[in-house]
Symmetry: C2
Subunit: 334 residues, 2 copies
Amino acid sequence: MSSNRATAHDVARLAGVSQSTVSRTFSNNSRISQATRERVMKAAEQLGYHPNILARSLLTHESRLIGIVMAGIDTAFAPYVLENVTLRLQAAGYRSILFNVGRAQDADDLLPSALAYQVDGLIVASALVSEAMAARCASLETPLVLFNRSVPDSSVNSVTADNVAGGRLVAQAMIDAGVTRPAFITGRERSSTSQDRERGFIKGLADAGFGEPVRIIGDYAYEAGVRAARSMMTAGKRPDGIFAASDLIAMGVMDTVRYEFGLRVPQDVCVVGFDDIPEAARLAYQLATVRIDFDAMIDKTLSILHDHLETPGTDPEQVTVPVTFIERSSLNST
Amino acid sequence: MSSNRATAHDVARLAGVSQSTVSRTFSNNSRISQATRERVMKAAEQLGYHPNILARSLLTHESRLIGIVMAGIDTAFAPYVLENVTLRLQAAGYRSILFNVGRAQDADDLLPSALAYQVDGLIVASALVSEAMAARCASLETPLVLFNRSVPDSSVNSVTADNVAGGRLVAQAMIDAGVTRPAFITGRERSSTSQDRERGFIKGLADAGFGEPVRIIGDYAYEAGVRAARSMMTAGKRPDGIFAASDLIAMGVMDTVRYEFGLRVPQDVCVVGFDDIPEAARLAYQLATVRIDFDAMIDKTLSILHDHLETPGTDPEQVTVPVTFIERSSLNST
DNA sequence: CTGAAAGCGCTTACAG
DNA sequence: CTGAAAGCGCTTACAG
């Protein structure tokens, strides 16, 4: 058990070639005679040698590392995004270095560390980046793409769902279903996603002559739905249509109005969520919701990143991906 | 917008000191005069300088990078583990480089790449590692901890839940509840977790004089529960107690027997899961299950890793964390 | 406390 | 096709 890691020098000595030749054997774009290659490979195998990528990156100026900076890794769609993004980055020969923003929603503190690791690019999901920090990335020519957040009127790449349109779709569907006392439960109140969904909802209601809906402050969690439902159902006049800023909140609402208050969904109160997570389609919920096309968002994020990686100086893009209303029996019984 | 990243040399020139002094300013364990430090810091600030950690690692022989190799990042408890592990590694000054095993359950293909990135340590979660690969890590003195998998009779560190004991607890609870026709739905059939849960279940039943339960092959997914329930409920003699290898499977079973077959849980058939994910406690399910103490498993994993990082050559540990049976109304109506 | 110098493990012109 | 040499951006004895 040799405690020292084999280097290209060790392999060279064993194979009877120069260190340069070993290096060439492990770099794709060099011509090496078949015989030499085999000799080197055999020696490398024997010593358990693998090139040190960190040393290589010093010369090539690329680490093949993409920084993924995330808030709430175990919440909502984050795992799905992580699963797919890591897999596709790997297929493209990149590795993912994962930074957890923790309870802060702010990626700024972690970005310097990501840059110190010489990441070739950055994806920031569900967290915010200051313009100053974005400018720093730009000056280092390190491409940065915001996922599920945007910095309006800036030159920061971003991919978001059309949350405003989604809110409008919900308003329309509720009105069509005969709702007269609508309510909205926010997600994390300061997040642009929750604000946009609310804004669209209010606009949609206003267009049909409705005033502002009842408003409960929540956060993106099942428990927030439970609490919101309790406070609404014990208040003076109960809402008859509840729009929750996420499916998880909506599920908390449904379970609570059904099992704590013995109400029927949708007959007594209808419920609509946002996201269309897999659980929303389950027989136990059948939750009407707004589907976010995460696959399209992921595609777009990776293609923007790819374009900027290939062609530094590419113009920034701020993409909004369309959403779809999904009719289910939590809104209309069939 | 200077396209070139500032180096210690650039900072040195601007600050009028040597490159060594710049280096010392950014390394904690060097004494530098207050005045010099300030001058260097100011210059660094001006140039947007951060030390290149990859270059540093070449000298220090530590990358401060921990490789996390995972199967099914978006399934079961994986997101929870990732959320907590990354946060705690960060607090300890480490970064996480995440490898996605994909549909294979085998980490072997990705470990060489992780080693090439000079990771200081490795956590492999829900994936398998060959003895040969583990030996390779050992010879490089790169600590490796298996999470939720083990290689029995080997010297590979591992942290698992006591799945066998969990299976026994379920058998006992079902017998106490009066179940006479038990059934088991496997998770991924070849996984040691599913096998251990089944083994414990069978043993527990046998101890009470029962024969082998009905057995349906599933996988760790909600849909597997749906399919299994359909096949059981249309078969000759229906089971009256179903133990699913995971909560997610159990929830698929519950929704299906209730909403597709109009049966009552637990009166017509009782259901028990495994894991105790948050959803299991919801009013819509109230799923009896076996609680895995993931926090304890994470603690143990990180402490083993820490010990081996601090003291190379520490003896390997194979830890089994106790589980608890959680009584809920899917087994016994109250 | 600070500087000059060697060296970590690689890549890549430059010759041959 | 192959080797000798310079150099990527740092750290760290060694002197002073």
